[in-house]
């Protein structure tokens, strides 16, 4: 069948070529139009790309400026000299290194926790038959619509009552229970794994747990990477929960730390931008290293959803 199709395509394209070559004027005009259109697309997309990049360039530029160059007119894009001392000052005038370590540890635990709970629930939704599965799956998707703000007051009261304030337990313990988004993503991926693989393993006497650990998880590395990435960005950026639950500065994550640092600085823009740059560097690095998985993850969750 495929060879038939390709020969048909070749005939078609051949016909097109010959028509172009005979009617040279029409073809030339068409080609010109196409070139103009792609040039136009490049111009529009190029301007857009500049708009996307400019804020970050400006952030880095400002973070390296000596204070007086912030206010100079015309604007200075390349600071002279590069004031690396701004970065040193961010770390020396606030416990920024500590913020980074705390955030790193919390993010790491959060990532592992998200992968555990969500992959279990996703396996149940994809493969195990039990009464109420469809309804539960529907409810899970519907909870994507529940605003955090309607849940936060009772959970705050509850975690306060059991003495978890000023700790990361209110943020990390719920992470072990499947979140809708990750569960959905993993389930979609599990559905693409052939059932025959599992049935063969079951014939050989493998338990469900064995199948899950030795077949499903290894085959879902892509999806698990996506979940890990989404979780990384979530826990790294999370602001509201630590703002509410963490009360002492030595436990602040980067997000609350910067907010605190910036409000104490007032007009010192180079230092503010240096602090922001430090906080943005890890996510940016992770993004560029893993962008292929990340883009795929966005697409799977957004389109199939």
């Amino acid at each position: 069948v495929s060879s038939e199709r390709t020969s048909a395509e070749m005939m078609l394209s051949g016909a097109r070529v010959s028509r172009y070559s005979t009617g040279g004027k029409v073809a030339a005009r068409k080609r010109k139009q196409a070139r103009a259109r792609s040039l136009g697309s490049y111009v529009v997309l190029g301007i857009g790309a500049a708009v996307m990049l400019l804020p970050v360039v400006w952030l880095l530029s400002t973070s390296l400026k000596p204070p007086d160059q912030v206010y100079s007119i015309p604007m200075v894009w390349v600071p002279r000299p590069f004031e690396w001392g701004n970065y040193a000052e961010v770390f020396s005038s606030s416990p920024f290194a500590r913020y980074l370590i705390v955030t790193g540890v919390v993010t790491g635990i959060g990532i592992l926790a998200s992968m555990c709970g969500s992959s279990m629930a996703a396996y149940a939704f994809a493969r195990i038959r039990f009464p109420g599965r469809q309804a539960m799956f529907g409810i899970m998707l519907a909870t994507l619509m529940v605003p955090v703000w309607t849940l936060i007051i009772p959970t705050y009261i509850f975690f306060g009552k059991i003495g978890w304030l000023n700790s990361y337990l209110p943020i990390l313990v719920p992470a072990f229970f499947a979140t809708p988004f990750n569960t959905f993503l993993l389930r979609q991926f599990f559905l693409t794994i052939p059932v025959e693989l599992e049935e063969a393993a079951r014939m050989d006497g493998a338990s469900r747990r064995m199948i899950f650990l030795t077949i499903m998880l290894p085959l879902s590395r892509t999806a698990l990477t996506m979940v890990a990435l989404f979780s990384f960005f979530y826990y790294w950026n999370e602001f509201l929960l630590p703002l509410i639950y963490i009360q002492t500065q030595n436990l602040y994550p980067v997000s609350v730390g910067i907010a605190n640092f910036v409000s104490s600085l007032q007009q010192n823009y180079p230092l503010q931008m240096a602090a922001a740059a430090v906080a943005l560097l890890p996510p940016l690095a992770i993004f560029f290293v893993f962008q292929r998985w990340f883009i795929q993850g966005i697409v799977v969750s957004g389109v199939k959803g």
Partner: protein, 315 residues
């Protein structure tokens, strides 16, 4: 209303067609509940119970300590009749959503259409557009606060190049919401990417057929691309809607709700009421209203889209 629609959005799992003994089925069902328990327990403990508790707290005047007094609908009466800040924050949030949602859809979709061309360098452009959308939170807000600065900011520098009048982005009651919309649109890359994938999923023979029928670019967009990508669009607009009503960090960091409450988003009001003034009962009533608004608008969106969204392969 929403449930069946939501489940209809996703492909159903393939299940084997074996006839099985009921004992085996019961065992499998038990297994199912064990495996789904991480979600089920989490749902009950961290969503369902808090939701009900929030509803109940909304009928009290609790402040976090002391006895709980049942006050009936007093909080709601106060909110609707004697609390101008409630209305102000509601208005701010609605205006933001009304500006941001259509703009992010139009911009995201147009960019996706532009990117859906077999041109060189598209992968790099795609990465550049997508990168800002993964950055969020406080650091980004701090960056934009300086970009909006009226004297030394990037945005007014650009306006100055074109000899346009400078805009007092954060100090004007009129401009502060557009400023935050602009900042959020910087992250349009994520929806662009999703729309792009949706567009690329449209079978090409549909385009060939419509082209054979003499449909031009505009009609192909209107009669093929948009209907075929409508489930993707609906899903994204829905999540965007939910997110718009919860905007907090940006306003908290950049404007603190000012000037003169012009950017006092609903979530900011809720935060101040609950964790600043410790009026937990009153804030819970506000939370319940937010829940009703978000769920209500989502249902309206589903209703409205029912005749317009086209699910391929499902009649």
């Amino acid at each position: 209303v929403a449930l069946s629609d939501v489940t209809a959005l996703v492909p159903q799992p393939v299940v084997g067609r074996r006839v099985r003994s009921s004992a085996k089925a019961r065992r499998e069902a038990l297994d199912g509940y064990i495996w789904v328990s991480p979600w089920l327990i989490g749902f009950v403990a961290f969503t369902l119970v808090p939701l009900v508790a929030s509803l109940m707290l909304g009928f009290t005047d609790w402040t976090g300590s002391g006895a709980i007094h049942w006050v009936g609908f007093a909080n709601y009466v106060q909110l609707f009749t004697g609390d101008p800040l409630f209305w102000q924050s509601l208005k701010v949030t609605f205006i933001f959503a009304a500006l941001y949602l259509p703009l992010s859809f139009i911009l995201g979709f147009m960019l996706a259409l532009l990117m859906n061309q077999p041109l060189r360098g598209m992968r790099i452009l795609r990465t550049i557009y997508f990168a800002p959308s993964v950055l969020s939170g406080v650091a980004v807000a701090v960056m934009w606060a300086f970009i909006f600065n009226q004297n030394y900011g990037l945005l007014d520098w650009i306006l100055g190049i074109f000899h346009l009048p400078l805009v007092p982005w954060l100090t004007s009651e009129i401009w502060v919401i557009p400023a935050i919309v602009l900042m959020q649109l910087w992250g349009v890359g994520a929806s662009m990417l999703i729309y792009l994938a949706g567009i690329q999923n449209v079978p090409t023979d549909l385009y060939d057929a419509s082209r054979a029928d003499g449909a031009g670019w505009w009609r192909r967009l209107w009669h093929v691309t948009l209907p075929m990508t409508s489930p993707t669009i609906l899903f994204n607009v829905l999540l965007g809607l939910v997110a718009s009503f919860q905007i907090f960090t940006q306003a908290y960091i950049i404007t603190q709700g000012g000037p003169n409450y012009a950017s006092y988003f609903y979530a900011l009001n809720l935060y101040d009421t609950a964790f600043g003034a410790l009026r937990l009962g009153y804030a819970s009533a506000m939370a319940t209203i937010l829940f009703i608004i978000v769920v209500g608008l989502s249902c309206v969106l589903f209703r409205w889209s029912r005749s317009r969204v086209f699910y391929a392969g499902r009649q």
